[in-house]
Symmetry: C2
Subunit: 128 residues, 2 copies
């Protein structure tokens, strides 16, 4: 990350303070509401930079726009493939062992971000 900018600071703060896996648009709205001017492209550009610098995670979705998550302790995600809601959950995966296995079988060096699983949430299951 090169130059400081007010916008970038604001964006980081918003993601850090959001515990609900906001979308780029969510973040844009919140930053604007704080009477700080930003443009959508600045939000997208900075989210990209922050992901590259491993300050935040990007969660890609089966439905709807991508979501972002500030990196704290490792935790896992359960994503609803109907409505796109994201929940955190705890589970003791053996990350080191998994990492080693994946590396040897596929060559992929997995990022230690927790594991994302998919399914259908309660309210989606009932509202059909």
């Amino acid at each position: 990350m090169k130059n400081y900018s007010r916008q970038r600071e604001e964006i980081i703060k918003v993601v850090k303070d959001s515990y609900n896996h906001p979308t780029a648009e969510d973040i844009y709205i919140i930053v604007k509401a704080k009477n700080s001017s930003v443009s959508r492209s600045t939000v997208y550009r900075n989210l990209g930079v922050l992901v590259d610098n491993k300050i935040i995670n990007k969660i890609s979705m089966q439905v709807g726009p991508d979501r972002y998550d500030y990196k704290r302790e490792i935790h896992n995600h359960a994503v609803c493939t109907k409505c796109g809601k994201v929940f955190d959950f705890e589970y003791h995966f053996n990350y080191d062992d998994i990492q080693k296995e994946v590396k040897s079988q596929t060559g992929i060096e997995i990022s230690n971000n927790g594991i994302a699983l998919e399914g259908i949430c309660d309210s989606c299951k009932n509202n059909i």
Copy 2:
């Protein structure tokens, strides 16, 4: 799934015969090449139906279009977040226990599709 159609049959066959996690566009090209006429919308519509009917899986990507995978034995995916390539790998996760934990912590009923992990593949790591 309601009515049979030649196009749907072709699409299923193509996904079943592809072991490289094709995109909707890939599938469209292949079906057309078999001199069967299809439109892109038919491909997208049928892929949606097939996912809903749990005949195929949809893999959502951090980069590039979604990919599809015919459902066979359970296996896991390792996805490169730079180039979007998808690799299969084997690992003995305790799916039942994970499923139970996720359900009780989040309310999400996870689909038994294997687990997808993300990272950077060998060739992307070297080409920077």
